[in-house]
Amino acid sequence: MKKKWIQFTVFAIIACFLFGLLNSAASMANQGWKDFYKLPRNTLDIVYMGNSHNYQTFQPQIVDDLLSTNSYVLGTSGENIVVSYFELKELLKYQKPKAVLLETFTLDFADVIVPVFIYQFIDANRLDFNRLKLQLKYYPLDELYNYFPILRLRIDWNNPKSFTEGFKSYLFQSNDEIDPKRGFITNYLVITPDKYQEAQIKPSTASNYSNEKNLVYLDKFVTLCKENDIELFFSVVPPLSVSGEAFKYYVPFDYQSYASEKNIEVLRVDTSNFIDLDYYDATHVSIFGSVLSSVQIAEKISEQMGLAIDEKKLKDYRAYTFSEYSISNSGNSFSFSILPIDQKVPFEYQYFIKRSTADNEDYSSNQEGSNRILFEVPSPGEYIIEAKIRNLESDYVLTGIFPFAYMEEENK
């Protein structure tokens, strides 16, 4: 009988192990949260928290380079303050940062945009009650199976590649490396001129929802920071416009009044000089905008926290400000130009012109040159220009992707 129970236990362990393996392979955890657990404990100085508006804006690499700090970006897509609160609780189990910057776009959502996004946080390989509580806020008990990625995922067996590749990459990936972007997710793509125009005109979505319940979690967030001697800042990066079904929960929060009441400093990124180049879409900045935002936020943090800023590097990063870009053509001959504000800065440019397909390999032309190039495309279709720009006085390489189309009518 004892032997039977031992066999049963061993079998259960094997089954649980395989189940865990499949869960890990099907995990939806974002890279920021995956890498968070690889960080040495209690080493972070600054953490940027919030939804995609946060983790696609602030680059820890740039801020750390300027301020000699150790910072990190945490967040999930479309999260609101409820999720941020649970993330903060998790953060504090492993780190004791000096400052937390909470991006205020997070406060503008009455609910998470899509509940399944919470798994970008929940799936980061830790079973704990904190995560379970968050899960139960959005999914009822009879959908508890959602807590496990492999149960939540209905594998598309017509195209199992996405699952099998995820499984392979999980099995063979190197587990020790931390992505140097430290939670930042790059928006390489630059908004097209027509979408930029449209974004500026579109009125914001009116929502029937209320943010009132979320105030409880904001208060808890603030209290938790105070209890842990963390200096809390609100960071603000104003979007162009907020509209569409995806933003039905958008309820602008009066963070200024709240911040005044609670003595919270607001660090606002000045986007008045941002141009189309600096946006990825109506609510997110592009890599260009991210550099400018990161530089500004570093200056504000330096001011607020009394940290020394590397002036030389500040000047180098500020050089990545461009006044305009253009793509024009005559037939299949195209010209691309991008104009830095300070034309004395020595930049090197490298361009890749590719077809805009999933692998971008169909047609590729590699060119080096100045801020202006001429090139031809072989046939009508959608293309991209991938531009790598480096200030020769800095190590930072800025990569931007500019979509364009060669239309068949133009050939006539």
């Binding site: 039977k4 009822p140 067996w157």
Partner: protein, 533 residues
């Protein structure tokens, strides 16, 4: 019916009647006459949360002294019921208390007349609950239809409420309990707790099997002692049920739903595939539920009756009903058919026997659901069996005369196929939401609509992908082979004597087949079809 919703009135009774609806998704139950949209958060047996619940109940059950384990099962059963909605628990409790005392009164009454009076009262009270929750709205519908036929247009307000969990099943258990006491088959159960557990026992609460008191109550006091082999067999049976439900039945359900929800969009070949698929789906779905229920009960040393015996191998509709939903068939036989035949014993049996058969299956149809389609389905089965009985001698003569040279196997196969087709035809009414849909489906098949066009044979528009079809075919083949072998050799037990690596591999394949191929994930596991009754 009018759009007035009594739930919005301030009347306490109406508030009690209006069970909570937590979101605006369509009702997933199979109860077609409920004119509301809503979703009840019940712990369906095919769900992950049920497994967690079962694990917790089992662990606590194992730690408790034997004498009080049945108490824990009673608590767990009520928690199971209350999880869906606390009002379901109230209904169950009231029904339990009333029927318990009626049983005691029947048992203690000395005069036959009094016994009968208590019996009738008890049955009427139990049926009144069932009528109120399940048939009241339908009755109003029927009344409105009758008025419409005679030229009076009148809409009556509808009660917006859901069917309490398992009501149809435990009502039949109450009736069988009271009748068994009246007939002297059993004594009234003195322990109200054990009687309550007889009705509420959670593995069988939602969709049976319909247990008899003499089979179940005794087991609560003397459950089978724990045996490792039976424990493993129970777990295997549960996972086999999950496999059937989540890999096969839910997948088939997509195809069936696609066609039956919009029958005019499809041609004869597609419709025939949907009807055949439904025949498979309902069998696999319901038998899967029973596997999980029987396996779960077995964990606690309780045996529930088997409910299926490869029904689609039946050579007649009569035999089909000896193999399909066996506990219901036995109940109908013992408590309606036999008494009806007894009452008609002095009359012309040749006439009354087929009539009684039709009555029994009319009751069965009504019991399954409050809709004209269920009534037609029940009537069809009654007519099939009545005709089988009437034509039995004549068919035997024909058989003798024309079956020379035809092997027994071929003859049996033909009989099985004919039975299957008759049953499939009846399933059309069972599945269709209303008579119009059923008529459309039948019309499509009978006229062979579009059969000459290639588009009519396009099965890719039925809601399943090519990979789904491959998985389905493979899973159905595995299911078929398993069921055939399991008939003779109980594989849940026999497999435990296989070589360790072999049996572990098979068990792991079973578990992970459910996880990887189960049709759930971004969707919740669809409710068992029979949960709507």
């Amino acid at each position: 019916m009018s759009g007035e919703f009594l739930c919005q009135s301030s009347s306490v009774l109406n508030k009690l009647a209006c069970f909570s609806i937590r979101d605006e998704n369509d009702v997933k139950f199979y109860d077609k006459d409920i004119p509301i949209k809503g979703r009840v958060f019940s712990m369906q047996l095919s769900t992950f949360i049920f497994l967690i619940f079962l694990l917790i109940v089992f662990l606590i059950h194992s730690l408790l002294p034997k004498k009080v384990r049945w108490v824990w099962l009673l608590i767990a059963s009520y928690l199971f019921c209350l999880y869906a909605d606390w009002r379901f628990g109230i209904v169950l409790l009231i029904d339990t208390i009333i029927s318990y005392f009626m049983g005691m009164l029947i048992f203690k009454a000395e005069q036959r007349k009094k016994k009968k009076a208590y019996l009738l009262s008890g049955i009427l009270l139990a049926l009144s609950f069932l009528f109120a929750f399940k048939y009241f709205n339908f009755s109003i519908n029927v009344f409105e239809d009758i008025l419409r036929v005679i030229g009076i247009q009148k809409d009556f307000p509808a009660f917006k409420w859901l069917l309490p969990l398992g009501l149809s099943f435990y009502t039949f258990q109450i009736i069988s309990y009271l009748l068994d006491i009246y007939n002297g088959v059993i004594q009234a159960e003195k322990n109200i707790g054990k009687y309550a557990l007889y009705l509420a026992f959670f593995p069988k609460l939602i969709s049976g099997p319909i247990e008899r008191a003499d089979h179940l109550i005794e087991q609560f006091s003397n459950p089978k002692p724990f045996e490792y082999q039976r424990f493993v067999a129970a777990l295997l049976r549960i996972f086999w049920g999950f496999f059937k439900k989540l890999v096969i039945a839910d997948r088939l359900g997509v195809l069936v739903g696609t066609v039956f929800n919009n029958p005019t969009d499809f041609y004869a070949p597609q419709t025939i595939v949907a009807v055949l698929s439904f025949s498979l789906q309902i069998y696999i779905d319901f038998s899967a539920y029973c596997d999980i229920a029987i396996g779960a009960a077995s964990l606690f040393g309780i045996d529930l009756v088997e409910n299926f015996n490869m029904p689609y191998l039946a050579q007649s509709v009569t035999e089909f009903w000896r193999r399909w939903h066996i506990s219901l068939t036995n109940w109908l036989r013992d408590y309606i058919f036999i008494p009806l035949n007894f009452a008609a014993r002095r009359k012309n049996a040749k006439i009354w026997l087929p009539i009684n058969i039709v009555i029994v299956f009319l009751v069965s149809g009504i019991w399954h659901g409050a809709n004209y389609t269920f009534i037609i389905w029940g009537l069809l089965h009654g007519i099939y069996q009545a005709l089988e009985g009437i034509t039995q001698k004549w068919r035997k003569k024909l058989d003798k005369r024309f079956s020379h040279g035809i092997s027994g196997f071929v003859r049996k196969t033909i009989e099985v196929l004919i039975t299957f087709l008759l049953v499939c035809f009846a399933w059309i009414f069972f599945r269709a939401n209303n008579i119009h849909v059923a008529a459309t489906v039948i019309g499509r098949i009978v006229t062979l609509s579009g059969s000459l066009h290639a588009v009519a044979w396009d099965m890719s528009v039925l809601g399943l992908t090519p990979a789904d079809y491959v998985i389905l075919i493979a899973a159905i083949m595995i299911f078929t082979v398993f069921e055939i072998i399991n008939q003779k050799h109980n594989l849940f037990f026999r497999s435990q004597s296989w070589l360790l690596p072999v049996r572990w591999l098979v068990y792991l394949i079973l578990i992970f087949a459910v996880i990887l191929f189960g049709y759930f994930g971004t969707f919740t596991a669809s409710d068992f079809i029979y949960a709507g009754f």
